[in-house]
Amino acid sequence: MRLKALVAVLGVGAVVACAPVQSGPTSSGTDEQTGQLRVWLFDEVNRGPKEAVVKEAISEFQGKHSGVTVDVQYIQVSSRAERFKAAFSDPKSAPDVAEFGNTDLAGYVSAGGFSELDLSKWDESKDLVPTILDTAKVDGKTYGVPWFVGVRALYYRTDVFTELGLKPPTTLDEIAPLAREIRQRKPELIGISAGGKYLFAALPFIWAQGGEIAKSDGGKFTAAIDSAESRAGVAKYTELIKDDICPPATCAGNGGDASVEAFRAGKAAMTIGGDFNRKSVDASSAAGKYGVVPLPGKTKGSVAPAFAGGNLLGVMKGTQRKTLANEFTQLLASKKYQQKMYAAMGNLPTFTDVQKQVAESDKFLEPFTKTLQSGTKFVPVTPAWAKIEAQTVVPTMLQEIVTGAKNVDTATADAAKTMNAAFTS
């Protein structure tokens, strides 16, 4: 009798919900010209200057459009995945305009979160650096405007180099021997602070050798991390995380922040750091005794292709104020406000001419703009990449090699297998 009741209850349940829930299509047909425009921007450690620039843009925007208010919410970078997932699942809680990381783009677009942008009527858009604009595209369609970029270059300690009579490396192959020599002569120092989880430091080594993470054939990706060129790059990078340069016990678990932290603490002679690390290095024991050069490439005088990280501004698909959202995006991402953001936060602009301008006024930026202009590269633009990143495929591969658990050939082959599984699922 009880069993029957239970079966009945389960039966009713099965009829009520015979498939997991899905929210409906998010695109709305309306395009209102007044009301409140909701904007999500990322919170920063020191948000004041950013907020001031954004407020300026808002008052300019509200001055042009009567009856429109702009409401900005600052969201945490660390919980962005949950916030955006929630926004996509429930359009009512979603903003109209949002700032987001360019590596998240493909996943957000396939989740149906952002709408395609038409930049053809926006004059300034033709000055956007093409390789940076590419980071805002999926399958040739543009879904965001690059707001700022971040690239990494080689930081080195000028005092150590002078003391030992050394010069910064001019080719990628020189880095390991140079770092080894420094550690030999100054055993308390790490030759170059590299990290087993520092994907964006490892990628230039792979790209400089002509390798790729994955190759795209008409939108269908296949892993290329196990190609001969990629393996050469992986070998070059993992060589750095050895006891005679950067001991695995210290370095294997490090990501970007921890790698730069060792340099800040004065424990490393070199590291790979971004233009965005400048302020924190200037507030450390390495302040005033460091220099920056572009990470050298395979041949003398060349620059290793850097990863073009950065944030985009985009318009959400569910917005009910499409025109206003587009206009606000173009205003905040305009040359004028990118310049202001550079002055306030040190964010590198995404327009060729504005980049040149700021580099001329600030010598520190030269290695970074030089890196940008010699061509940057990006991670595979596919939603599968978000999965590969969440599953820590590449860091695990690097760590397996530096701990000796697997050799380069096996580790890259296994990583390629996992990636291909993600690409085809």
Binding site: Q22, A111, A386, A390
Partner: protein, 294 residues
């Protein structure tokens, strides 16, 4: 009243409890099983892609994965060490507490409550500070600055196990202490009059009387330690170097939820539920066979 009528009355009395259980337990489990049968990612949740029924595809995928079996074995061994450690430390301190003076006992309880009430994330972080390679107090005392506890697979597991035991022994200690205190004095007195030694009293009188309580704390510990997430996630930075410190829960998070593969994640959840139910049933049956009334 007929037998049928009696059954009906009994059912009516049980109905409210059944409803609550159904709402809080059966429905979520039903949803979990349902989701585990679909290819259910972020695209499907937000309506960007159609649902695809996979049947047992997610399970096939999971059970055919070598890493899953490795992680499962690791989880079982890790949980076993934590359970045994927790019970031993808890029992030892509970007995100690019955034998010492009041102020010592108070101090012991306060210290244990402190460990118990520390949030897992805070506790893990504090332990990491204590065992930091360069600035940690422990390395300073031992004179081994620069030694990384979290790099090697086994020292990392050992450190996390110690932290888990540290934050879960107070429950065992307090429960067992209450149990020991609840044993009537007459029973122990009778044993003493019969000339039983202290060991004999503990083995043949105290322990059998404590059995139901030990049963509860053991099952609790097994379930808790099998599901450890925070300590591994925080202390080994998401599963250790090259993922060699992964346990099932962290693995499920990393492979499935962080990667928005909710179908696969649900499948891992179902497997974990089945495993835990199995362990608990096995344990209960073993106890029943040994003559315990449950």
């Amino acid at each position: 009243m007929t037998a049928k009528g009696q059954g009906r009355t009994a059912f009516a009395y049980l109905a409210p409890a059944l409803l609550v259980l159904g709402g809080l337990l059966a429905y979520p489990i039903y949803q979990l099983v349902l989701i585990s049968l679909y290819d259910y990612g972020q695209e499907q949740v937000s309506g960007g892609a159609p649902l695809e029924f996979l049947g047992l595809g997610n399970y096939q995928n999971l059970l055919g994965n070598q890493q899953f079996w490795g992680v499962l074995g690791q989880t079982v061994a890790f949980a076993a060490v934590c359970v045994v450690g927790t019970l031993l430390v808890g029992a030892f301190l509970a007995i100690l507490a019955t034998r010492v003076r009041t102020w010592v006992r108070m101090t012991l309880f306060l210290a244990a409550l402190g460990a118990w009430s520390t949030p897992a994330v805070a506790g893990s972080t504090i332990w990491l500070f204590l065992f930091d390679a360069n600035f940690g107090f422990v390395n300073e005392v031992l004179g081994i600055q620069g030694f990384s506890w979290t790099f090697d697979k086994w020292t990392a597991f050992g450190l996390v196990a110690a932290q888990v035991i540290w934050c879960s022994f107070p429950f065992v200690m307090v429960t067992l202490f209450a149990g020991i205190k609840a044993i009537p004095g007459e029973v122990l007195e009778a044993a003493a009059l019969d000339g039983a030694s202290a060991f004999r009293t503990a083995w043949s009188v105290t322990l059998p009387l404590l059995k139901p309580i030990i049963l509860v704390v053991t099952i609790q510990s097994i379930i808790w330690d099998f599901k450890v997430f925070t300590q591994i996630y925080v202390m080994t930075n998401g599963g250790g170097i090259a993922g060699r410190n992964l346990v099932l829960n962290v693995y499920a998070y990393q492979q499935a939820f962080a990667a928005s593969e909710y179908g696969l994640g649900a499948a891992i959840g179902v497997v974990m539920t089945v495993l835990l139910l199995g362990i608990t049933m096995f344990y209960l049956r073993a106890l029943r066979r040994s003559g315990e009334v449950l």
